[in-house]
């Protein structure tokens, strides 16, 4: 894959995270370069989702440092992360089920809306101009994700694969610098996976987004990613380009069990 620069967008150094006595992440370091697709894989309970939650500020690691866009941060809340250009999707789709596709994607624009609630409610003057601009951005995303036909459909009525797509749309609407995807292809059929892969690659190539994703489908991960971080029991066991990771005996052990 091309498109990645050498600039480090996010640097995770020696991070450890525990809940009570349970260690979720132990001394993990890795970095994400601007413009790359970075996969985090590992068996169940390896700490992948915890790592995403650390990155977007939902969890606060007990040890270690996280440097994002050159600034080392101590504590950060998710909405601050969002303000700084980090968007994410969830393992279990988290959308407003009663709202339409378009409205759900529009919610992704809320951080970028400048006018107050009062003017928005009046829908007049600058607030209207702003709404039109946001709508334009959302329509571009709808076009990009090929979901024109469900624009006005409440997302609760959509099949799961499309809901995943809408969720990606909402994340894209934030125009993030770093896009975190938690199992974007879980529960999808082959065609839906191919579509989703295409959208992720396009988001990187055309929209210049940096993507970090967790995924169980190893085939998809290896095709899609520039670099792959492998976790097991909260520790880093490998971190390299897909071809090297694929051949790493430790990774094979982790996935197939020792003594395969």
């Amino acid at each position: 894959m091309t498109g990645a620069s050498d600039e480090i967008l996010l640097d995770v150094e020696n991070v450890s995270l525990s809940f009570g006595g349970v260690r979720a992440i132990t001394d993990v370091s890795f970095d994400i370069r601007r413009g790359e697709i970075r996969a985090i894989i590992g068996p169940n309970g390896a700490g992948k989702t915890s790592m995403l939650n650390v990155i977007n500020g939902f969890y606060h690691p007990q040890e270690g440092r996280i440097t994002y866009r050159g600034r080392t941060r101590a504590r950060m809340k998710p909405h601050e992360a969002a303000r700084q250009g980090v968007a994410r999707t969830f393992q279990n789709v988290a959308l407003f089920k009663g709202m339409t596709t378009l409205d759900n994607i529009m919610t992704g624009r809320s951080l970028r809306m400048k006018r107050g609630l009062f003017w928005q409610a009046l829908r007049h003057g600058p607030a209207l101009a702003e709404e039109i601009e946001h709508r334009r951005v959302c329509e571009e995303i709808i076009d990009f994700l090929e979901i024109e036909h469900i624009r006005r459909t409440p997302v609760g009525a959509l099949p799961y694969g499309l809901q995943k797509r809408v969720e990606l749309g909402r994340a894209l609407a934030m125009e993030p610098e770093l896009l975190l995807l938690d199992e974007p292809m879980a529960g999808m059929n082959l065609e839906e996976k191919e579509d989703m892969s295409r959208f992720i690659v396009e988001a990187k190539l055309q929209r210049g987004m940096t993507v970090a994703l967790i995924e169980h489908d190893i085939g998809v991960v290896m095709d899609l990613s520039d670099r792959v971080l492998v976790l097991e029991y909260g520790r880093r066991i490998a971190d390299d380009v897909p071809d090297v990771v694929k051949a790493d005996p430790k990774v094979i052990d982790a996935y197939l069990g020792v003594g395969h």
Partner: protein
């Protein structure tokens, strides 16, 4: 009304028609396209300028007179304009089905000798690039939608927009503009105007070449026949490569000067139809059937009051609607009841379907069920039938307003000379008649009689009122061992009129009796299953369910009863049938791209099931490896129960509807 032809100046080519519209009605809308959720509109003057830009760009690419330019994609304004642009400079545009797989497309592109291809998007470009080594003549591939194509550096691949800006720059200098004007003027009515590939129902697709003057003559006749004007509007959603789209939308649109609206995507067409509210519309019977099924399913879920209103006023419509539509005398009370129904049910229903403004609607391609046809006619939709062919440039027969029936396709269209050959084949000469098949003079000769009539390959006869009735493909009409006439499509159509049956294949030529293989319609049978607590996990499971079999058996029985009532067909009743474990699909080669059954192919693939039907078995299994058109292999496996159907005694005299 005033078509472009009345506005002075020659209008024997589509480029000249466009120039005429730009001058006569430059501010009128010509094209619309929904993009980013909004309808964008181009006037005739704008379309003329855009088309000139494409044409000048094509000249710069070296596209010359007589060369073929392929168009691969859906209904996009720029693809339509590319067609006119090619016509402007004397090249021959050839649209291709966008859903054709790479290999199929490569064969046709190769045959068409196209040197320039205009593709809609990445999907089409990928397909073309994957077979490019088989297309040595192709110099340039232009694409309309750049998404996903930024990184491609294949030689000759260029954005249509880039070609247009080059064209615009050249036109700004004057010399190129004068050159283009000269090219438009040089265009002759006898030039090949377009090449349309047939759908390939009976063998390989052939490139039907149509001339400009004949195309325009045919379109002019029918524009006058249906009184189409520049105030009309259509939704251009039919496949670009199909004669129906090129005729009903493009040719008639350019003759009458009406507006063509292109849907946002194929998936949104139903919604776009509602938003546009066309005044002139075409849809195959299948689409009307799917719409009706949807209405009926919705009504099942409606409240009791709405259900009652619907039933009550549909009864009124059934009784009086068609009579009122046909201008017959009806009592005042009936008019009042119908008027009330219009207010409460028909108008809202038509609005929900996007049919509110329709003045003229046509259906063709397959036989349409009497009840289905009557439903739309009775709620006040001016739905009519036509019979057409690519070789005729569509219209062979068409029903006039107020002389409409479901079981025939109308008298000959204006200036069409129609006759029935002694063997029952329908033959015609028409104003839009094709020039010939591209690169296949022997096939052209085969398609014509010595005295110049086109052989349709359809068997039919004239009804007493002068309307043509088509029975089947002449080649498909066969006989049972005892000599009984066997018209498979006639039987299949009777089966398919039941909403629960999607497809049917009747067998019997050279056999002792008639059998049928049936595909259930998942939408309506699935809905029925939901209502009746029948659980199923797959199409195959539902298709094999005993209660589904019972339901289909009653349909088969009804068909047999109808056949028994017809002296010619009584001996061709269905004796045994089965439900296919798999949906017939164009991707698997079982249907054509226009959804017609490929009989011989199916007979081969499903031979074990057919053996079961005629071998007296209680069930039959099939397990076969199938090769998809793109080379991938799949497995087809399943078991079908075979059911004996009871024949009805031959009726004396009485004719069932």
């Amino acid at each position: 009304m005033g078509s472009a032809r009345a506005d002075g100046g020659a209008s024997d080519t589509f480029a000249k028609l466009l120039r005429g519209h730009a001058a006569a009605r430059g501010d009128r809308p010509a094209f619309r396209h929904k993009d980013f959720g909004l309808w964008q509109t181009w006037t005739w003057a704008q379309v003329y300028q855009e088309t000139r830009a494409i044409a000048a760009g094509l000249v710069a690419l070296g596209l010359g007179r007589g060369e073929t330019m392929a168009i691969v994609g859906g209904n996009r304004p720029k693809l339509y304009w590319s067609i006119t642009a090619a016509q402007m400079i004397g090249a021959v545009p050839a649209p291709f089905y966008a859903d054709a797989v790479a290999d199929e497309l490569a064969n046709l592109l190769e045959h068409s000798e196209a040197t320039v291809i205009v593709a809609q998007d990445q999907e089409q470009v990928d397909k073309i690039l994957s077979v490019r080594d088989r297309l040595p003549r192709v110099r340039a591939i232009l694409y309309d939608e750049p998404r996903g194509l930024a990184d491609y550096d294949d030689p000759g691949l260029v954005a249509l927009e880039a070609v247009m800006s080059k064209g615009r720059a050249a036109l700004a200098e004057g010399a190129a503009a004068a050159d283009l004007d000269r090219r438009i003027d040089e265009g002759k009515g006898s030039d090949a105007s377009v090449m349309l590939y047939t759908s390939g129902t009976t063998g390989r697709s052939k490139g039907v070449v149509l001339s400009a003057e004949r195309s325009i003559a045919a379109a002019t006749d029918t524009v006058a026949f249906d009184r189409l004007t520049d105030r009309d509007e259509v939704l251009a959603y039919l496949p670009l490569a199909w004669v129906g789209d090129h005729y009903l939308n493009y040719a008639q649109g350019y003759v009458a000067g009406f507006c063509m609206a292109c849907p946002e995507s194929a998936d949104t067409a139903a919604n776009d139809l509602r938003e546009i509210g066309p005044t002139y519309h075409f849809a195959p019977p299948r689409v009307f059937e799917a719409l009706l099924t949807r209405v009926q399913i919705r009504m099942e879920d409606a409240s009791a009051v709405k259900k009652w209103l619907y039933r009550h006023f549909m009864d009124v419509a059934k009784r009086w609607g068609e009579k009122i539509a046909n201008g017959e005398a009806v009592p005042l009370s009936a008019r009042i009841a119908y008027g009330l129904g219009e207010l409460v049910i028909y108008a809202p229903l038509k609005n929900a379907l996007g049919f509110s403004r329709i003045r003229v609607a046509y259906t063709a391609g397959e036989a349409i069920g009497a009840e289905l046809f009557a439903f739309y006619r009775s709620i006040g939709l001016n739905l009519k039938q036509l019979y057409g062919q690519t070789e005729a440039f569509l219209f062979v027969t068409a029903q006039a307003d107020r002389a409409v029936r479901s079981d025939a396709v109308g008298p000959p269209a204006p200036h069409v000379d129609l006759r029935i050959a002694p063997d029952g084949e329908v033959q015609f000469k028409s104003p839009g008649q094709f020039v010939g098949y591209f690169r296949e003079p022997e096939k052209t000769a085969e398609a014509l009689t010595p005295d110049g009539y086109v052989k349709t390959g359809d068997a039919g006869y004239f009804e007493p009122d002068g309307q043509l009735k088509i029975v089947d493909r002449a080649a498909d009409v066969g006989r049972l061992v005892d000599g009984q006439l066997f018209a498979p499509k006639y039987i299949e159509n009777k089966l398919k009129f039941f909403p629960n049956i999607r497809e049917a294949v009747a067998l019997g030529d050279g056999r002792d009796f008639v059998t049928a293989m049936i595909n259930i319609e998942l939408a309506s049978v699935g809905n029925w299953a939901e209502r009746n607590n029948v659980s199923y996990a797959s199409y195959q499971e539902l298709a094999g369910h005993p209660r589904v079999y019972d339901m289909i058996e009653t349909h088969v029985d009804a068909v047999n009863r109808a056949l028994a009532a017809e002296p010619m067909m009584a001996g061709a009743q269905i004796r045994r049938f089965l439900i296919l474990p798999k949906e017939l699909d164009a991707d698997d080669g079982e249907l054509t791209r226009t959804q017609k059954v490929r009989r011989r192919f199916i007979a081969e693939r499903y031979a074990p099931l057919i053996d079961g039907l005629y071998g007296g078995a209680a069930e039959a299994s099939i397990s076969a490896e199938i090769t998809y058109e793109d080379g991938r292999k799949g497995k087809l496996a399943g078991t079908s129960r075979i059911v004996d159907a009871k024949p009805h005694p031959r009726a004396q005299g009485a004719r069932a509807a």
